[in-house]
Structure formats: structure tokens, C-alpha cells
Symmetry: C2
Subunit: 229 residues, 2 copies
DNA sequence: CCAATAGTGTCTGTGAGACAGTATGAG
DNA sequence: CTCATACTGTCTCACAGACACTATTGG
């Protein structure tokens, strides 16, 4: 069946949902589309794979994010493939969606200069007209992030290298949308063995807090029970 | 940048890792490749998306499985995309891998007739020369299945509609590779509220066992703690 | 001193592990 | 009856939730 290769090929793109923590809110990076379809609307940063540059799709995702924000996310993972005949007016399309996390302060200086890109709070997304089914993809990414937050420490990748327990607690609560016990979080920091406690401290109006850092070699530890259930 | 679309496109294929339970062993469906590359070797069932037939990639996976085994799996979920320049000798390729589960007895009558397809025990896979990086993909699928087995009841999709607790226990133990407590499993069957207990029984040399069925409307329940940790 | 934030001590609750004990079928 | 397999009772243990209590900073 040498004919197999003659079948018409779908579009194949890679898009990323990049999250960060800014002003106690969980935000997503959106870019204003410069061309049709959906010209002028907000959409996810992404595009076509370039097999002359990209070694694999992870590289494509990172390269496209670099073009928009000037940096590599601290965490990047495949979300899922979304496909169908009607999600892109140009025809059948296949998109591989990623979700990613960065510390806000590092990204801030870059964005404005590069291109029309902005951080939008996940709570305010519904106020905008979003291109394609990207609204839905963000929904999926958020659900996955929430789930993973219940049994791992990934939210640290939204924070700077040195962070306090309160900062981590705030991100987690922003992600899962409800309060957690500080005590439980401290137990997990201990048990995961992923962090070093630095001697530096940060203060914000009361007793000053210890700062923690991710160990260099640290694997992401998965707990056997969920938080906040 | 209308030039974007002129970028050379990669191959895009869909492959599935179909698991079942047979003779107390976890098995994977492999097909003998009829064409190069890797002609004559065993590989995963899959192929190119046909946008004139398939509404999305799930359909592609189901269609390809139907061609090999004559049936729809009870459970089908995306695993991940694997991509790279060197995994297919014909050039840069992108594969969307699925994993799927079926009850063995239903599939049995179909396979031999359709094509050169066979069930291989996951423990004996290393004895064969497998096409592409499919060995690796199976590894990934198994890891995901193991993880998911710790906090859900998906292994039931390897069983017939009516099944006993012992059968379910056997599948789970085959998947995760270690014994679990019958008592814990019974607690989960209760708590999940996913099953009806039928009045039928099955016997195998001792006291006869109750048979259970999945409720028609049942969602897959996710537990907050892992099993067998 | 007080207010505010950080961190500890410790009790309760839940669900898994372990395993002895009881029930029910076949011969 | 005995044997094999199915199921129950119940204890322990690990870890999350709750929340009062102590510690440390700035004013």
C-alpha cells in the first residue's frame, strides 16, 4: 500500500499554555494574533514544527515560547492532542498542547519588548474573545495543573529560585482555588526531600520567613495521598 | 509570513498499545509488519490519520484497532506524542500513542482471522525484535497504566462485563506487579459506587463468588490515596 | 508593649495494610 | 466430614485537617 502516503495531511501545530503567578493571581500568557484566522484576537503562543531546527516537539514548544517571552519555562509537559475538522477554518488540524510554568519576575522584563503578549488572569479569560478552541485548551491545562498540584510540588516552578512557604502556599491556593493547611505543606516539603533550606530570610510585616530552594538534582516527588480533598 | 506553510511537514501517525488479561498475564497486541521499514518485525497497530474518514485522532486509533482486532476497546486514552528525526528511517516523524484496554474473551475470536496479529505477554516482549521505538512506547504505556491503577478502577476494562473480585484482583496484581489486599479492593468497590452486584455467581473449586458489573452511567472514580504503596 | 506573620505541638479522622476468623460451595 | 476459595471483623499505621499555642520581626 504505497498509496498510504498520498493521503492528505492535516495541519500539525504545537501550542503552549504558560502559567505564572503575579499579584496573587494565576495568569496565562496570551499573544495577539497578527494574521488570519482570528487576526487581532488573543491566542496561545505556538506554531508549526520546523524539522530543520527542532529535534522534537518539546523543542518546538520551547522555541515558540522563547520567541514570545525570551525564556525557557522551568517546567514543560505535554497536555494532550486536540484534533478535528472544524477547529481551524483552514481545514483539518492537529494540535499538540503543552502546559508550562515560569517564575513571574524573570519573565517580566522581556515580554513587552518582544511582541504583543500579555499575562491574563485565569479568572478574567472569559472577558476576552479567544482564538480557535484555545479557551478550552486552557481549561484542560488548568484541570491538569490542579490535579497534579494535589499530589506533587510542581507549583514551585511558578516561583523564583528562593521562595518562602507562604509564597508556595499562595500559589497552591490560587491553583486549586481553596485554602490549604500550612502545616500540611511543611510536612510535604520535609517528606519530599526536594528542597534545601537557605539561611536567608524574607520579611513582610511580621516574623521573617525562611527561604527554600529546589535541590539541583531533585526529581519531582509524587505523594501517595492528595491534598485538600 | 505566508511562508510558514511551506515548511516541510513531518510524518504524523497514531499507534495504540492495547492491553488485555489472558491466562493470568498482562498481554499486549502486536502485529507483524507487512512492509518496510522493519518488514516482518512486530510493531504496534496504528497508521496514518485519514481526514476523509476520521473525525479526530481517537477515531483513527479506534479504526486502526478495528482493522486488526475487529472491535472497539472498552477504554482508550491518549498516552503521549513521541517525535524526532531518527525514530523512523524515512525521516522526521511524529507519533501520537494511545493506550487501550479490552476484555480478552471478546477479542479472541477475531484476531487470527483478520491479519497476523498476536497477544504477547509484557514479560516476554524483550524476547522479540520490535519495530521502531515501539518497545519504549509500550514501556511508557505500562507505566501510565500502573500509575492509574493505583488510584482508579480502570483495570476492570480488561475484564468481561460480569467479573468477580478475585478476577479484578488478579488483573491489578498483574499490572502493578505485586500483591494487594482483597479487603482494600472490596472497600474501593464499595466507595467508588461504580458497580452493581449481580445475583449471579461463579465458582472455581471453593465458595462461589459474587459477580459485579459496571453501572451503565458510571464515571471513573479517582481515589485520593494510592493502593499498594 | 502590640500587631502581624512564621512556625510548632498535638489531637482527630480517614482509609490502606495485615491477618485472624467465619461462610459457603464441591467432593 | 475436609478442602478450597470467598468474605468479614477489627487492629494498626501513616498522613492530612484542624487549630491552639509559641516565636520572631517591625513599630
Amino acid at each position: 500500500m504505497k498509496t498510504t502516503l498520498q493521503i492528505e495531511k492535516p495541519f500539525f501545530t504545537v501550542d503552549s499554555v504558560l502559567f505564572t503567578m503575579q499579584e496573587n493571581e494565576l495568569k496565562v500568557l496570551m499573544v495577539k494574533r497578527a494574521e488570519p484566522p482570528f487576526e487581532g484576537r488573543l491566542g496561545l503562543p505556538g506554531g508549526f514544527i520546523d524539522i530543520s531546527i527542532d529535534q522534537d516537539t518539546d523543542m518546538t514548544a520551547r522555541r515558540k515560547l522563547m520567541n514570545k517571552t525570551g525564556l525557557n519555562p522551568n517546567y514543560l509537559e505535554q497536555l494532550q492532542v486536540i484534533s478535528g475538522a472544524h477547529r481551524d477554518p483552514r481545514g483539518f488540524s492537529v494540535t499538540l498542547a503543552y502546559y508550562a510554568l515560569v517564575a513571574h519576575q524573570i519573565v517580566k522584563p522581556h515580554i513587552a519588548s518582544v511582541e504583543e503578549a500579555r499575562w491574563i488572569s485565569v479568572n478574567e479569560l472569559s472577558k476576552f474573545a479567544i482564538a480557535f478552541d484555545h479557551q478550552h485548551i486552557i481549561e484542560l491545562a488548568l484541570q491538569r495543573l490542579q490535579q497534579k498540584t494535589l499530589y506533587s510540588m510542581i507549583p514551585v516552578f511558578c516561583l523564583p529560585q528562593k521562595f518562602s512557604i507562604t509564597q508556595l502556599m499562595t500559589v497552591i491556593e490560587a491553583i486549586i482555588g481553596k485554602p490549604i493547611q500550612r502545616k500540611s505543606l511543611m510536612r510535604r516539603i520535609e517528606a519530599s526531600e526536594m528542597f534545601d533550606i537557605s539561611d536567608e530570610k524574607i520579611s513582610s510585616g511580621g516574623r521573617s520567613a525562611h527561604l527554600y530552594t529546589l535541590k539541583q538534582d531533585a526529581d519531582i516527588f509524587n505523594f501517595e495521598r492528595n491534598l485538600g480533598a
